[in-house]
Symmetry: C2
């Protein structure tokens, strides 16, 4: 049986696909993850640089979200034992490859805004 005719008989999106999408969603959803990833897309940054670059974020949230992103393998944290200590954050390969997810989201978002005129 062909894939196309198998798909026609499907009643919903396969569960392993939903899982994969949720993995991706968990990485980018929340109020601050996107601004942080967006700040790091163009190069490494220090904690205070990120804080200054992201309006209204509190150090608590920045710290929490960076830990989250680090735990999920999106961000790499490097501590230089200079005096004073310097901490740099940068995207991992996985983190950088998020652009392949973000670009279609930008396109869809812009198009959807046009479709739903006046929004």
């Amino acid at each position: 049986m062909e894939i196309s005719s198998e798909l026609e008989n499907l009643k919903s999106c396969p569960a392993q696909f939903v899982l994969a999408i949720n993995d991706t969603l968990n990485v980018i959803s929340g109020k601050w993850k996107l601004p942080i990833i967006g700040s790091l897309l163009y190069g490494k940054k220090r904690f205070r640089e990120l804080e200054r670059g992201i309006p209204k974020i509190s150090p608590r949230m920045l710290s929490k979200e960076l830990k989250d992103l680090e735990a999920n393998g999106i961000v790499k944290r490097t501590v230089y034992d200079s005096i004073p200590v310097i901490v740099e954050y940068e995207l991992t390969i996985s983190g950088e490859s998020l652009h392949q997810v973000l670009e279609p989201m930008i396109e869809w978002g812009l198009q959807h805004r046009k479709n739903v005129i006046g929004k």
Copy 2:
């Protein structure tokens, strides 16, 4: 000046892009939106069909999320004044076009799972 060299000087993702991504995120994030969209990707469905197809969802959540998706122009609700009343839900054009967003998310999610071995 070329686009590439302009991008090199950027310190973060442009704001209108972040907005567009957030529009997209709002449409697909939440615990139940994806299962609902996934159920509708392969054709129209009635309320109880969706309820039966999505394990553990409560009618309250299903109703709420369907209203949300309808308000956002993702789902179309049709009431047939038969007896008993039949209500059908289906994806709009915008809703169907979400596959262009979901596919890269599936790919990224699967790849990321491979990268972060043992997760």
